[in-house]
């Protein structure tokens, strides 16, 4: 899941200041799960913006809509009949959603209301945890399903670094040491021989080394 956090209200207000009619577009998938850009959050932000405008004596008109997915054309198309009635689109989608909407409506101003943060899991109610950097070359099978690139502050493939204290990271004492987790799990599974392998440097060309990545599947095309 992609996680995000809402920008401060002052930053959002500054962005939309030149506009009066605002189309506020949420996304019902990842950012709804992490409570930053779903239908409820659209309602909260719209209410805040309306109240702020009234207090400041400004006129503002906000239309609220939440797409099932803001990064897929078939869902973005629901905006087609609406966008021309508004001065600006304020998106509560992730960065992919904002850009997808802008691709479909290139003449419109699309503004982001969220800061897209990381790929992660819902660890508990109200807790989201980063655990994947989308490096394009998954090695979780070698590390007992603990990603050292993401969860080790130093990104060590040949750890541990030796600096952990009380099974926690020396960089952030609130974070469990990824290598402690890897060693413990491999021990529990009777697979400590995995630790004998020396891993070569990561091939970052599969990540961002060649610019934006693209996946093309002929069998999935129309």
């Amino acid at each position: 899941m992609i996680t995000a956090e809402r920008k401060s209200l002052s930053e959002i207000k500054a962005m939309i200041a030149p506009y009066r009619k605002i189309l506020l577009v949420g996304c019902g998938t990842c950012v709804a799960e992490c409570a930053s850009g779903g239908e409820k959050e659209v309602g909260l932000l719209a209410s805040q913006l309306r109240m702020a405008a009234k207090i400041e004596g400004r006129e503002i008109e906000i239309k609220e809509i939440t797409l099932d997915r803001q990064c897929v054309y078939e869902f973005i198309d629901q905006l087609t009949s609406l966008v021309e009635q508004y001065d600006v689109v304020l998106s509560l989608g992730c960065g992919a959603g904002v850009q997808a909407v802008a691709e479909v409506f290139p003449k419109l101003t699309i503004l982001p209301a969220l800061n897209t943060t990381f790929i992660g899991e819902t660890r508990g109610s109200g807790v989201w945890f980063e655990n994947c950097r989308a490096c394009g070359d998954c090695k979780l099978g070698l590390f007992a399903a603990v990603c050292p690139i993401t969860r080790c502050a130093k990104g060590l493939l040949n750890g541990p670094c030796g600096g952990s204290k009380g099974e926690h990271c020396e960089v952030d004492p609130d974070t469990p040491c990824a290598w402690q987790l890897i060693v413990t799990r491999l021990e529990e599974r009777g697979r400590l021989e995995f630790l004998e392998e020396v891993h070569p440097p990561v091939d970052w060309s599969k990540s961002q080394g060649k610019g934006p990545r693209k996946i093309v599947r002929e069998d999935q095309k129309n």
Partner: protein, 139 residues
């Protein structure tokens, strides 16, 4: 912003857990009849059902004060409903503060289980209100 408000005319919204008063349906209607549109009650099956959006909508529609009446600590029928409610109200307080309103406009009232909803309401109505008239009141 006006810092004084006449408690005789203040617009009040009260969200409350129905378990606070088994006779709430009758008791609240008596006050609604007496005070008319300046008081609004929103019964909840448990205060944990409250959503920050409901609190914001109450403020947005012109309430000067919004109270959330919950069961006392450790007495929630559903164990944690009231503690969740307090956290959600705190979140909504942050949201109204962002737009320049006083966080005191949203307040938790913990019931001791001894008073009916009309008695709780009358004690709230008798209190001095520490914030001014809402700038969001309909004209």
């Amino acid at each position: 912003m006006d810092r004084t408000i006449d408690k005789e005319t203040a617009r009040i919204s009260i969200f409350f857990c129905q378990r606070v008063d088994s006779g709430q349906d009758t008791n609240r209607r008596a006050i609604e009849k007496e005070l008319g549109a300046r008081i609004r009650f929103y019964p909840l099956p448990c205060s944990g059902r409250i959503d920050p959006l409901q609190l914001l909508r109450a403020i947005e529609t012109g309430a000067d004060m919004v109270y959330l009446v919950t069961c006392g600590e450790g007495t929630c029928r559903y164990r944690e409903g009231n503690t969740r409610a307090w956290k959600r109200l705190a979140y909504a307080q942050g949201l109204i503060e962002e737009i320049g309103l006083e966080r005191e406009r949203l307040e938790v009232i913990q019931s001791n289980g001894q008073k009916t909803i009309d008695e709780i309401t009358r004690s709230l109505l008798a209190r001095d209100i520490r914030v001014g008239s809402s700038p969001l009141r309909p004209k």
